[in-house]
Symmetry: C2
DNA sequence: AATTATTTGCAACAATGTTGCATTCGAATA
DNA sequence: TATTCGAATGCAACATTGTTGCAAATAATT
């Protein structure tokens, strides 16, 4: 458990610190996504705001977590599954944001549909953001 | 031209003011998307920051423009095409963001592929954000 | 245990977004 | 066209969010 988290950090050439362990732990016990503010609350302001920003930034760079584009200017982060944690980068993500409760779901098992782009456009990454009502709010 | 803009405003029960006309004009002569900061610059700070915020908000409410979800926490707005301006709301958008020049394209003519959601999830809206290299940067 | 490199917290700052209120302006009416 | 009334604007003050430099603390290495 705790060891598992340390493993992930070491595997990514990151030193094992309190904040990194705690934040990664939070992501693991959350099946949805977390925003910076969520993390601040859930850690009871134990860590400096700056530390959280930098930790998130580091995790994104290492491919441990990824950002989720949202229309309302709130950056959310979610744990990358399997392939991501081994270093391979996802190029596609499907996310579902509930209009009611605001929970963000990573639908990793869903296939991203092919988008046919106009001539001259080259695709590197595709994000699909679906919003509506989730299974808990229906 | 100028009349056309006034028409759009009136059609949406909005009084025709300087800032609204100017901002709508900007969107019309931009084929990409605009962020709040872009509008501030392009209007030479003629209008108060607050006015721009409120104008954008109003336009979104009326369905004249729509927001584009981005992963980097920068809200961008783009003009809604045809159907939108007549009051009907789009439920799907495909956008392309160039990794090189940052330009955001609305690919209104592209069909949004169907996403098959797990049981209990109801879709209201879907956004596809494709990133890569655009036709001008290839 | 000592050294070194990294990470953290603090402070200060910059950017972004929000709210209340007085003034100004647009639209409708006479 | 002048008047009236509701809506939009600008200003000020504030809240939130994100960034940077630097000294102190901490983790990893020897």
């Amino acid at each position: 458990m705790k060891n598992e988290i340390a493993e992930i950090l070491k595997r990514n050439q990151l030193s094992v610190t309190g904040s990194r362990t705690k934040i990664l732990e939070l992501f693991q016990e959350t099946n949805g996504a977390l925003a910076h503010a969520d993390i601040e609350k859930k850690t009871d302001e134990t860590y400096d705001r700056v530390t959280i920003y930098r930790t998130l930034q580091t995790f994104v760079e290492k491919g441990i977590i990824h950002t989720i584009p949202t229309a309302d200017n709130s950056v959310r982060y979610a744990l990358c599954k399997d392939e991501c944690t081994t270093g391979h980068h996802h190029d596609n993500h499907v996310h579902f944001i509930c209009d009611d409760c605001g929970t963000t779901y990573c639908l990793d098992n869903i296939t991203v549909p092919e988008v046919i782009l106009p001539k001259g456009f080259t695709q590197k990454r595709a994000d699909v953001i679906v919003s509506g009502i989730c299974k808990n709010c229906e």
